[in-house]
Amino acid sequence: MQLTETLPLGRTQEGGFGFSKSKVMPSFPVSSRRNRQKVREEAIRVTLASCGFLSVLTTLGIVGVLLFETLAFFREVSIFKFLTDTQWTPLFADKHFGIWPLVAGTFLTAAAAIGVAMPVGMLSAIYLSEYATDRFRKVVKPILEILAGIPTVVYGYFALLFVTPLLQRLIPGLSGFNALSPGIVMGIMIIPMVCSLSEDAMYAVPQSLREGAYALGSSRLQVALKVVVPAAFSGITASFLLAVSRAIGETMIVAIAAGQQPRLTLNPTVPVETMTAYIVQVSLGDTPTGTIEYKTIFAVGMALFLCTLTLNLVSQFLRERCQEQYE
């Protein structure tokens, strides 16, 4: 801005000091030094761009690998069986390839996680954004973030050896491996994510909306629940979808505490197996390349990838819309 003001009248910034290219460049012989610099600059630009492009290659790699092995899998097992069979027993002599037991396990643990993370995360977000003082927020948010930074094996340990025994005292008949305990612990892990995304969405709600509601005689509670939350709804939905995606993709907690028995059930107290836990189970055994067992983990991985990608894309779309709304 300042630059334009100091320029002599009649000259634009783009034209820049009268050295407009078309007039000056041809009359000077281009020095080799400047030429070399140009080449160097261009080389650097291309190098940096290819660094960025590597991330695209990573995506292509993941999709490619999954697609390649999944197609190989479906040459041996019909997609119809994959989607209709109710048993998943690729590691037994009597092989069945129905994905639903794994989906059920994944769904159960994810549902438990969401059942914890959504209410706790949202209420915390409301408290932080509408009630807490700035100082309190500054102290508490980083502490909350620690929860997200703790390695998942640690949560697995916690689920198996602390939460499960605790729940067993409350719920008689709860199996040592179950969907409930890792689900709850996974929920605790996701709380900071839900909280900070929802809080961002609530923070983006313009102050004038709140003040208008206060002026009409609303209480704090009414403002929070009837003005801020509805206004931030798309952002909150985005955090919900991202939480589901995270819960579906989470591996170690369920691999440790949910068990390894794929079964088609909605009972959270018995051992189940999630998609991710199945991949871990096969990886732990030494499965030779090219066998059907080896291909199954890629087929399951593909299902996992499609689920999380869809959730992430919708979530991202909602967040962008939420940002645009008030700008």
Partner: protein, 294 residues
């Protein structure tokens, strides 16, 4: 008139009560999260701290819980993180520079990269493991080696490093860049001599935090087949290896109680490593923050 006043009063009183109840519920939710964190840490500490001694740090894994140790896992973790950083840091910073300094005008290429990075950050880590298994372990024939692990981890950490570095580069004041351009510096000269020195502490801090995120990842390492029972130290990028999270996972999945204690002690060491990395990041930020805004 009087009746209405009383009605209003009652309504207000009810409102005040629900106000108070809601504040307690919301505060309670926050408290729940914080208490869960405290219990988690205390529980692991009580389980593991008695097992934590020099012998534990300097022993290889063993079939007997009381003789087992984390030496190979600890060294493996450090080895792999070093290699990962070597691979991911330059590439991540390079990509961040490109997106912040070169791709200002949004063309399809930079948009593609940006959308892609945002999505990559949401891909479950175990899928990176599947990529690593097929690409590095099988196709490139690296086997279940430190290098295959580091390459996989590098791909996993790359989006986070890029996002963190971009934020650090973005805060460099445009006045400094314009000044540099005005003195006739080229774009790269401006980046190399002006932008990077200012942004570097921020890049470093963000990257350390990014690496501390993936150091605890076990899933991709299990998928590419890092082993839990390694009774030697990795001596080349191609030797087999184990890392702390895998060692912990292995101990947790055993039936003997004694190994649970080992797992808890291993967790304490892992948390200590993470704490040190985070402390380093915070220290760097504190130390250089002032210079940033000069």
């Amino acid at each position: 008139m009087k009746l209405e006043g009383m009605h209003l009063q009652r309504m207000l009183r009810g409102q005040k009560r629900s106000e108070r109840v809601f504040k307690i519920v919301a505060g309670g939710a926050l408290l729940f999260a914080l208490v869960a964190l405290a219990i988690l840490i205390i529980d692991v500490f009580l389980d593991g701290f008695r097992r934590l001694d020099w012998q534990f740090l300097t022993s290889f894994p063993s079939r007997k819980p009381e003789r087992a140790g984390v030496l190979s896992a600890l060294v493996g973790t450090v080895y792999m993180m070093g290699l990962t950083a070597l691979l991911a840091f330059p590439i991540g910073v390079g990509a961040a520079i490109y997106l912040e300094e070169y791709a200002r005008k949004k063309n399809w290429f930079s948009r593609l990269i940006e959308v892609n990075i945002a999505n990559l950050a949401g891909v479950p880590s175990i899928l990176y493991g599947l990529l690593g298994l097929e690409l590095f372990v099988r196709m490139m024939g690296l086997g279940r080696s430190v290098l295959a692990g580091a390459l996989t981890m590098a791909l996993l950490v790359l989006p986070i490093v890029i996002i963190a570095s971009r934020e650090a580069i973005r805060v460099v004041s445009p006045a400094i860049k314009e000044g540099s351009f005005a003195l006739g510096a080229s774009r790269w000269q401006t980046i190399w001599y002006q932008v990077l020195p200012i942004a570097f502490p921020g890049i470093l801090t963000g990257s350390i935090l990014a690496f501390s995120r993936v150091i605890g990842e076990a899933a991709p390492m299990i998928t590419i087949g890092a082993l839990a029972f390694i009774a030697f130290l990795p001596d080349s990028p191609l030797s087999p290896f184990t890392v702390l999270p895998i060692q912990i996972f292995n101990w947790v999945s055993r039936p003997q109680k004694g190994f649970f204690t080992c797992a808890a002690a291993g967790i304490l060491i892992l948390l200590a490593v993470l704490l040190m990395m985070n402390a380093a990041a915070v220290f760097l930020r504190q130390r250089y923050q002032k210079r940033l805004y000069l």
